[in-house]
């Protein structure tokens, strides 16, 4: 997960400082411009210019992505609106194979000459680089779909909601938190609309409209006498939904010892009120005694552990070594998959990859190389059974088709393998959060995501959270602080003894998963129900400086 765009290293304090400076991935525009949609017929004409120009220079394969990427950020703190930003990034990215090598070029000049020149540059780069190849690119076959389209099934386009309504919501959230005892609150609404057009020499012309939204806040409370401070971040999830995400219904709420948790939709005002109370409780929480604990992990926390310890190591590009220089490789090497008996986790552990789950961040009709998306098993009854692959990797797994995991974060970025939604399937037997806690003798119930770090082959990780509750003799006895758990991925997932049932299944996710050079962000969801892991090593993170 990439941190710099959002969760800044020094935590909430510096996060607040950074927010107005969130990188703008394009030019700013007026709100009403965001509602304009470019006619697919015009995009088809531009695409054909690129396809023909590349072919005439010797490309054996070409794909074209015309992207219009809209972002809206509403940023507030306490009683002030700090920033309202509308950005648009519009341009064309052209990827070719020539002499067996990939080449790519992108431009924001959308006239025919500039597009043709970019296509020619992509071919020139491919030809220049082909002398450095060890073997030519091998693409899995892909049939052309002709002219097709896909739209995210949202109920309310967030870009159509007046800015004032968004500002009023955030200011009311801030007001509630301040009245509840918070010293500071920063609240933000992120909204994204990707209008993507894909065309390739396979004969596809695919128009897609994708929406994402993430409301979030950070609350800080300071003890004026000691100078100690605590923070509590929102328990919302970034989702692939429209503005309806902010209209929570009773069935979207789950009541737990940590207060109300959210499923499907989010009540920001309610969460801010409970956060203001909980940040006060954190101030007086007991500092954890380090040692082994049974952990009961809420989906608002567990998504990030799934992301780092299962999502990343099953990305085939990492397994093969394509990310060795930056994001790293993977301990889930091909021999472990080939053995058909590599025991990634316990029998309770069933993890799927899914590019179609409604409302998830990764849901699209087609990926960024024109492959129709689907769902498949990654870990089945604890055994590693598959990876996440794209067209130029499919043959390595003996597949005759891509799994549709290709994505580029902008028209100006080259597409490559990115994570599908990777989710832990709920348990088959009825099991509630209360049941999980009742069954634990000595444990910690963790809600919300916090600090996270994992090694470059995904063995050793350390995670924190937002809220930690001590469990003794099957009961919650109070709040803890200074908690982080460290584990080895395989040992951790083999210590999974119970996963709650479908009624507790919820999606968490990341807006800013970082990978690649140059670094690209992607958005991905991870579902799970509350799960229990036995005897995990917990450390105390309290330190003293000057």
């Amino acid at each position: 997960m990439k941190r710099r765009n959002f969760i800044y290293l020094t935590g909430i304090g510096a996060a607040a400082a950074m927010l107005p400076a969130i990188p703008v991935f394009g030019r700013e525009i007026s709100p009403e411009q965001a509602l304009e949609y470019i006619d697919p017929a015009a995009k088809k004409i531009m695409s054909d210019v690129a396809l023909n120009a590349a072919r005439s220079k010797g490309a054996t394969y070409t794909d074209v992505r015309i992207g219009r990427y809209l972002n809206q950020y509403v940023v507030t703190r306490e009683d002030k609106v700090e920033n309202i930003v509308n950005t648009e990034s519009y341009g064309i990215g052209i990827r070719v194979i020539a002499n067996g090598s990939w080449g790519f070029a992108a431009t924001d000049k959308m006239d025919k000459d500039s597009i043709a020149k970019a296509a020619e540059l992509a071919v020139a780069i491919a030809k220049e680089n082909s002398r450095l190849l060890t073997e030519p690119v091998q693409l899995a076959p892909q049939k052309g779909y002709g002219e097709v389209s896909w739209k995210a099934p949202i109920e309310k386009n967030a870009f159509e909601v007046p800015i004032k309504e968004k500002v009023d919501l955030l200011l009311s959230v801030n007001d509630a938190a301040m009245k509840g005892g918070a010293d500071y609150i920063n609240s933000i609404l992120f909204m994204v609309n990707e209008q993507k057009y894909f065309a390739s020499t396979d004969g596809s012309y695919i128009d897609q409209d994708i929406h994402r939204i993430w409301p979030t806040f950070f609350i800080t409370k300071i003890d004026k006498t000691t100078g100690k401070f605590e923070t509590r971040n929102a328990l919302s999830a970034p989702t692939g939904k429209g503005y309806e995400y902010l209209n929570a219904r009773p069935e979207d709420k789950i009541h737990s010892p940590a207060g109300t948790l959210y499923k499907g939709r989010y009540d920001m005002l309610e969460d801010a009120k409970q956060a203001a109370v909980q940040v006060g409780q954190k101030m007086t929480a007991k500092s954890v005694d380090p040692g082994k604990y049974d952990l009961v992990l809420d989906p608002s926390h567990l998504w990030l552990t799934i992301h780092e310890s299962c999502g990343h190591p099953t990305e085939l590009d990492r397994v093969l070594g394509y990310e060795a220089n930056f994001a790293g490789t993977s301990f889930l090497t091909l021999d472990k998959w080939e053995s058909k008996k590599f025991n990634y986790g316990s029998k309770e552990v069933n993890i799927t990859a899914d590019k179609t789950e409604v409302g998830s961040l990764g849901a699209v009709g087609y990926d960024d190389e024109g492959v129709k998306c689907g769902k498949w098993d990654i870990i089945k009854d604890g055994i590693l059974v598959n990876y996440q692959a794209i067209r130029d990797q499919a043959h390595i797994l003996g597949l005759d088709h891509s799994q549709g995991c290709c994505y580029a974060d902008n028209w100006s970025s080259v597409q490559f393998q990115r994570m599908a939604n990777i989710s832990l399937q709920p348990g088959k037997k009825p099991l509630s959060i209360a049941d999980q806690i009742k069954n634990v003798e000595k444990g910690i119930y963790i809600v919300g995501d916090g600090s996270f770090s994992i090694d470059q082959q995904r063995y050793n990780f350390q995670f924190g959270g937002q809220l930690y509750y001590e469990i003794k003799g099957g009961k919650i006895v109070g709040m803890l602080k200074d908690v982080a758990y460290q584990a080895n991925t395989q040992e951790f997932w083999n210590s999974c003894v119970a996963v709650c049932d479908q009624s507790d299944y919820r999606l968490g996710g990341s807006f800013f998963d970082g990978k690649g050079q140059p670094m690209q962000s992607s958005a991905v969801s991870h579902g799970s129900a509350t799960a229990r892991f036995n005897k995990v090593n917990v450390i105390n993170t309290a330190r003293k400086i000057g």
């Binding site: 941190r3 710099r4 800044y8 290293l9 020094t10 935590g11 909430i12 304090g13 510096a14 400082a17 030019r27 700013e28 525009i29 002030k80 609106v81 090598s101 990939w102 431009t107 924001d108 000049k109 970019a118 780069i125 220049e128 680089n129 082909s130 002398r131 450095l132 060890t134 300071i222 004026k224 006498t225 100078g227 401070f229 923070t231 093969l320 070594g321 990310e323 060795a324 220089n325 930056f326 790293g328 490789t329 100006s412 996270f452 770090s453 090694d455 082959q457 063995y459 050793n460 982080a484 460290q486 050079q517 140059p518 670094m519 450390i539 993170t541 309290a542 330190r543 400086i545 000057g546």
Partner: protein
């Protein structure tokens, strides 16, 4: 689009500004051309060329401001973008923290951020540079994965008060990981320059290859507190968290490691070892940066930490005015004063310790103490009696740069390095630190 000269940028901005009817108007203009080549498994993978540009116009009426942008620069487009920013400003809520735009500023001499050699780099030159790197890996039966990128760009700004600023720059970045064929050894090197001619991808590959070969068959030693020698790129990822946290408002508001009870800060206090001197200097020839910041403030030479005492914090213009401090912008390049010893000499003078090539996946654990966690990677070695004895398995650490700089044993010679986390360039020395806290072992190679 080719980058605009100072005169061309000035003419375009003057024309755009002539359409303004707002009380105040400020325009930023930028453009860049960049290219990159990426390789892995000893073969080229993805690469590309990207060209983009844009203009950002902010108009203000009282404390209401609006911003609009465009990337077409004909007369009609210029007028349209100015009008649109004015319409948005009229619709915007008042921002009590809005500051009037700056009067013309004195920026000092131009900084040497632009290199003609880098600006002229072609796809062929990039491929040529990588060819030597790949050849070395192949000849030694090693597996290389690397990334080489170069860019040239310009930025300019002008406002209705007469302020004008311009800078053009070039940038080259190269980093490489070399692994043994059996995956049991891994080494890394990274370099950043303004001038492409300074890059020697082959030489950096040789360093990474040597580390890969010598890190095979690593031994597991117990986690705990060790004397470590951090190479400059490992220093970078730890200390940049300290640099990023030197914000005045966060400190004043009580939510940073710089805060003290009762709204006070630790500015002026002896926080770190007295050999710690950290500053920024846009004119440093090894790390030149722009002589103005994005909002038009001059970038000057600033002493951030002097003899272990934090002397200055950066801040917004609003916060500086409210609190009566100098409004220093956050710096573009940071320099830590080093000693005279080379890395080899630091090793030679170490009785027992661990040499760390690279630290990875650094995350904040506790913002109050600046406690960070992360792992060693791509070359971790045990030192005994002044010599590297054997490679050791990678560790997870939990350590604060504040504690680290109080446990400072020795500073080596400063060199230009790149953060593997933020990609920022710094001038930093290797550091020898006592009692660095490793909390667990990792099987990762």
């Amino acid at each position: 689009m080719p980058i605009l000269t100072k005169e061309q940028a000035k003419a375009l901005l003057t024309k755009a500004l002539s359409y303004s009817k707002a009380e105040q108007c400020e325009i930023n203009l930028y453009g860049s051309d960049s290219g990159n080549i990426r390789y892995a498994k000893n073969s080229v993978s993805t690469s590309g060329g990207i060209s983009s540009n844009g203009m950002v116009v902010t108009s203000a009426f009282g404390k209401k401001s609006g911003t609009a942008t465009i990337n077409e620069f004909d007369d009609a487009s210029l007028e349209k973008v100015v009008r649109r920013s004015e319409e948005l400003a009229q619709l915007a809520p008042e921002n009590p923290e809005f500051m009037p735009f700056l009067e013309p500023q004195q920026y000092g001499a131009e900084t040497p951020t632009f290199s003609e050699a880098t600006a002229a780099v072609s796809p062929k030159e990039r491929a040529d540079a990588v060819q030597g790197s790949l050849a070395h890996a192949r000849e030694n039966k090693l597996t290389a994965a690397g990334f080489l990128s170069n860019s040239m760009g310009y930025s300019a700004m002008m406002n209705s008060k007469g302020l004008f600023a311009y800078n053009k720059s070039t940038d080259v970045a190269f980093n490489i990981t070399v692994r043994t064929e059996d995956g049991k050894g891994s080494g890394y090197a990274t370099k950043g320059y303004n001038d492409f001619k300074k890059l020697d991808a082959k030489a950096d590959t040789v360093i990474a290859a040597k580390k890969a070969l010598s890190s095979v068959a690593a031994k597991a030693i117990e986690p705990g507190k060790y004397t470590v020698i951090l190479e400059p790129t490992a220093v970078a990822v730890m200390l940049e968290n300290l640099f990023f946290g030197l914000d005045a408002r966060q400190a004043d508001e009580g939510r940073s490691f710089m805060s003290k009870p009762g709204g006070k800060t630790k500015v002026g206090e002896q926080m770190l070892d007295e050999r710690v001197n950290i500053y920024s200097d846009p004119w440093n020839t090894d790390l030149p940066t722009s002589n103005w910041s994005g909002d038009g403030r001059p970038q000057e030479k600033v002493n951030w930490i002097e003899k272990g005492v934090v002397k200055n914090l950066y801040s917004s213009r609003y916060w500086a005015q409210k609190t009566g401090i100098k409004a220093i912008p956050s710096p573009d390049g940071i320099i830590m004063q080093g000693g005279t010893k080379t890395l080899e000499e630091l090793i030679k003078g170490t009785e027992k310790g661990i040499l760390v090539t690279r630290l990875w996946y650094i995350r904040s654990v506790d913002p109050q103490t600046l406690l960070l966690t992360g792992l060693t990677r791509d070359g971790t070695f045990y030192i005994e009696n002044g010599e590297i004895k054997f490679p050791v398995k990678n560790f997870r650490f939990n350590e604060s740069p504040i504690i680290m700089l109080n446990n400072l044993d020795e500073l080596g010679k400063t060199e230009r390095t790149v953060s593997g986390e933020s990609n920022a360039n710094y001038l930093l020395p290797p550091l020898k630190i006592r009692d660095f806290t490793f909390t667990s072992l990792s099987d990762a190679i």
